[in-house]
Amino acid sequence: MSGGIVPAFIPPPLPSDDKRWKIVAGTMRKNGFARHALIETLHTVQSSFGYLDDDAIRFVARSLRVPLSQAYGVVTFYHFFSLKPPGKHTMTICTGTACYIKGTDKLLAAAEKRLGIPQGQTTRDGKISLMTARCVGACGRAPVILTDGELQGQMTGEPMIEQLERWAVE
């Protein structure tokens, strides 16, 4: 390493010609391919593709010169990142304290029963994912659920199940 010219870093080629990779590469370029852009980049991957698969993690790790173990460690450490593709629709039930006091445990149980899956899973037909959130900060409207990211406050069992039924027959 002594004295020689350090070759300029050339990031690896995009995994495919899917346009979404260009958005991902854009985030990395904006941050000068710095290692600390790992979480930012993973956010971009997740928002573009919906989840993080092995190829995506490999590509990001190689592009940012971060050990694969570290990238995988980060992905699994933060709850926001998902390694599985989400269903067509996602119902997220907030289980923060205010929502819990107002009975979201019952909402969650009802949704689990209706879908026949535990929280964190997607129905076998890939239609609906059931997730929980640790407080979305809308405690004033508790209990709160998110239907495809849209916040619905002061929720009760009936409209929630109706929503699930609508998605199920789509």
Partner: protein, 552 residues
Amino acid sequence: MNIEELEQIKESVRLQNAKFDHEINVCMGTGCLSQHSDQLKDALGKAVETGGKNALVRRTGCMGLCAAGPLVLIDPEETLYSHMKAEHAEKIVSSLGGEPVKELQCDLREHFDQQVHVVLENSGHIDPEKIDDYIARDGYLALVTAVTEMEPKDIINEITESGLRGRGGGGYPTGLKWGTVAKAGGDIKYVICNGDEGDPGAFMDRSVLESDPQRVLEGMAIAAYAVGASKGYIYVRAEYPLAVSRLTACLRDARRRGLLGSNICNTPFNFDVEIRLGAGAFVCGEETALIASIEGRRGTPKPRPPYPAVSGLWGKPTLINNVETFANIAPIIRKGAKWFAGMGSARSKGTKVFALTGKIKNTGLVEVPMGISLRQIIEGIGGGVPDGHKFKAVQTGGPSGGCIPEELLDLNISYDALIGVGSMMGSGGMIVMDDTSCMVNVARFFVEFCMTESCGKCIPCRAGTAQMYTLLTRICTGHGTMDDLHLLVELCGTIKETSLCGLGQTAPNPVLSTLRYFKHEYIDHIVHKRCPAGVCNMEAQKAAEVPEEVLA
């Protein structure tokens, strides 16, 4: 930018607004937006046009009373309407200049009159994405004054004299922290704003970031000038998309106005801010874990010292303050330390924003002077427990805090008083529980939270919270013994004393505080196998235990 230019902007906004007879402020915070206040705003705009009224319809941030949303405030009459729908728009608009629409009006004087708004002074009055609206309410006056007329050490003195303490939970004196960073050597220093409001049941930071983001940026810039930093990061939860988009817009506007960037106010002072998104880890609210997260690593805490003030982000001296702390800076510089120190109690100055939620009539955000009693907040401002239920406890400080029973409701709120009763200020979540809540179950809920959020770096927290959870589950399902209870208490002590960071050290608090005030509920679960609140389902558990042969 200089003070004259600020005055010019202020005057032009005033003239602009003076053209209208009425201002219709529509709350477009997350709470009200979820009830389509955007459509309401459009409908109001149309109604103003067709009704031929001379009124300005303005998007604003949170007005506080989220449970009664969407909210509309008519100025200058100060008429507040709640539970608004788009179809009410015409009725409201045609009433302008005459009698307000009584049946839609919301008269909550007792809710608003006892509040003192410092941090929330602009919330609900300005369009959060219009920097001129902020400037018109004396925004950036503090920054321009600080940079052009004050020495960094004078600013730190002012903050120290104000008695401001960190609003993120710990309550560390802000001036002292700034002083340490200012004294630290090195050319490169950082300012970080902690907006990782992971505490479930708290939404003050979200609301401030959505309603008045410029105020936080101004506070950060003043801090940067005082400690000698030129780069800032604002770490926001990814769960707050609206806050992120408003911040992004505000950063752009502030740069355009020359209030961020190079040579601010034609001085050598440079400062810019970048947004960093959290990714859903409660432990990242701990400052060393947050720094690790900004560096792109797993958010695990480090032992302190060295404190971030000496060695923080990328090993450089770093100032970390919470959103609400930064939101207090501009008013202190503008109105002086004496004014700020005139509010509050002996060792806790100023005001505090609380997120009042749970079993309470007026759910939402309230800002009160320190030293006010819990009873005034819950029974006065909050309107008490609804539906004829009886108040049981109020939980403050989130998973690190404790439950305070009715006999202590006359406690005057301060950092020290709350610690004295086994809870803590925390970031300001205040969750009211009535007789339908089981305190053992609540303790189990918080322990489960800490168990899943433990980063796993140190054993007391990683294994200890899991063991606490198992013991509490045994008690909640009717399998607990008095030995379990003793073991639980012992375990609490060990976790408290040996955990690495605040998450673990405070994880036993919900258990200890419920044991302190509601031990009879634990005894009921263990000895009498019954849950007084009827929450824990012990019968089902008993039936499931019966061997199948017997059932068949």
